[in-house]
């Protein structure tokens, strides 16, 4: 088994004994479930077709809070308890450690997303024979999965910076909020500056396209870059211990 998988497996398993992880998942399902029910109940009363967007809107937004909480300990704790010394003296490359942690967290979040499929599937069954629109559903899931991967990388990067979990949480939350809002002033600025800010915005790529059922390479490239760059920076932070 490659080192990457060994690390990923451990992190993945850790979430299943972590109260914090259960609490975060529970909050997500609770809030999303309530909104989803209210919206579709209302829609049904007015005779409008069922809509899964009422789930993806809040689900994407809640990730802003859930992901910093779920990533804060990944590398901070290792620094605090000294287990990083164990990892850095094991025959394991620094990037394998970092990428393995990310992969473990990603696997857990994918489980959360898969469980959340229960909502649209229930809706689909209840609205037979018409059912729900499949295109936007799967596009949204793809977009969400990509966005979550990018956000996890940001959270992991914050956790590489400090041994203090609370500080890591605040850093990743601040960075994610910044990426979430950075596109807002774009309409005021216009021109190439506006376009750049729009491109950098982490929520735009989701809400403007995947959410509407549109899959663009540009958006995929954006999210994949936002996975790679923070992971690279996190690796540099871990490695810097070897130079200092």
């Amino acid at each position: 088994m490659s080192n990457l998988w060994v690390i990923a497996k451990r992190e993945f398993a850790h979430y299943f004994v972590s109260i914090l992880a259960y609490a975060a998942a529970f909050m997500i399902f609770l809030i999303v479930g309530i909104l989803f029910f209210i919206n579709n109940w209302g829609a049904a009363q007015q005779g409008s077709p069922p809509d899964t967007r009422s789930m993806f809107g809040p689900l994407a937004f809640l990730m802003l809070f859930a992901i910093p909480a779920l990533t804060m300990r990944l590398l901070s704790e290792e620094q605090k308890t000294g287990t990083l010394e164990l990892m850095l003296t094991a025959p394991l490359r620094d990037w394998e450690l970092v990428a393995g942690k990310w992969l473990g967290a990603y696997a857990f979040m994918l489980v959360v997303l898969i469980v959340s499929l229960g909502f649209p599937l229930t809706l689909h069954m209840l609205t037979q024979p018409a059912g729900i629109e499949q295109g936007p559903l799967w596009a949204s899931y793809l977009g969400l999965a990509l966005m979550v991967g990018a956000m996890l990388a940001v959270g992991l990067m914050a956790s590489a910076v400090t041994e203090n979990q609370v500080v890591a949480l605040l850093i990743s939350f601040a960075v994610l909020i910044a990426f979430w809002l950075i596109g807002s002033p774009s309409s005021l600025l216009g021109g190439w500056m506006g376009n750049t800010l729009d491109y950098l915005d982490i929520s735009n790529h989701f809400y403007n396209n995947f959410y509407r059922g549109v899959i663009n390479t540009v958006d995929i490239v954006y999210y994949v870059s936002l996975m790679i760059v923070p992971l690279y920076i996190a690796t540099q932070f871990v490695s810097s211990r070897r130079w200092r």
Partner: protein, 309 residues
């Protein structure tokens, strides 16, 4: 197996390890002995690839610790001083995890074997967070031994163990050391004396003495101490004895009790007795104490310059 040349480590401007040189061969158990802050952990961290040297060079099993760190790490078993462990895992899970990272062949067998060797088999399914300090130490040791490393680096391996376990771990290290290279750090002289073939005494980042434990002791065996006890509080004795030829230091132990350190090979007892009696103090006791390894250690790490020659 381990070659260290002019190894230096600075933390900022603070010199933690100052141009040390040593080597350790296969089948050797080398003890790293020194007071707090001497630079033992720092040196070991460099050898295990955790941090780079500021200057100088170190190779382990022929590989440079900085440039070929991964090769070094494959061959080293390391017990860090703070014994960091994943406390959310059980002992068995933890050893499995480390075994996977270390690509241990016949992992399950090796884990059983190692758990047996350090006597933690009965705790295999206990969460590490529930283990006592001594048990954690053993788990850390198991982790270091798991992959049959050519080189073992153990930072204070017996600290926190009960006396029976200390003996067992020492025997285990001796056993392992027969066909491998072991480097361990300790504050305990008897430990170094007990299990090491060679002792390096390090102080303030410098190696102040290096020899087999027996020769180290013999070399300094001449240095002596004498204890005297007088009636009353013995005011004035200090000054009177300090001037004696052969006396290097007079320490007051308690009221009326003094300890006299002398140059090696000089018996100052007759002269001390004469002075005390002539001075009018009531001599109650005059006793030769000799010099223990503890004293040698203290002396070496106190005035390293004198003894290093």
């Amino acid at each position: 197996m381990i070659q260290v040349e002019d190894l230096t480590k600075r933390y900022g401007s603070f010199l933690a390890v100052d141009k040390i040189n040593f080597h350790a061969e296969k089948g050797e158990i080398v003890g790293f002995l020194g007071p707090n802050g001497a630079g033992k952990t720092t040196t070991m961290r460099i050898l295990t690839g955790f941090m780079p040297p500021s200057e100088g060079r170190a190779t382990v099993a022929g590989f440079d610790v900085f440039n070929e760190s991964l090769e070094v790490r494959k061959r080293v078993g390391y017990l860090p001083e703070s014994v960091p462990l994943y406390t959310d895992m059980t002992v068995y899970e933890y050893l499995t995890f480390m075994g996977e990272l270390r690509k241990v062949a016949d992992r399950e067998e090796r884990i059983e074997e190692t758990m047996d060797a350090v006597k933690i088999t009965d705790r295999a399914d206990t969460f590490i967070s529930h283990l006592s300090k001594g048990y954690r130490q053993r788990v850390g040791l198991a982790q270091a031994l798991l992959h049959h490393p050519e080189v073992l680096i153990l930072d204070e391996p017996t600290i926190g163990l009960d006396p029976a376990q200390v003996v067992e771990v020492r025997n285990l290290i001796k056993d392992v050391g027969k066909d491998r290279t072991v480097m361990l750090s300790t504050h305990i002289l008897t430990e170094a004396q007990n299990i090491c073939n060679r002792v390096l005494i390090i102080n303030k980042g410098q190696i102040v003495a290096e020899d087999s434990p027996a020769r180290l002791q013999a070399r300094l065996a001449g240095a002596d101490r004498v204890r005297v006890k007088v009636s009353g509080d013995g005011t004035g004795i200090h000054g009177s004895l300090e001037g004696l030829p052969g006396v290097t230091r007079v320490n007051k132990v308690s009221d009326g009790e003094f300890e006299i350190e002398t140059k090696p090979g000089q018996d100052v007892r007759p002269e001390v007795a004469r002075r005390i009696v002539n001075g009018g103090w009531g001599l109650l006791e005059l006793r030769y104490v000799g010099m223990s390894l503890e004293d040698i250690f203290l002396q070496l790490t106190r005035d390293e310059v004198e003894v290093a020659q």
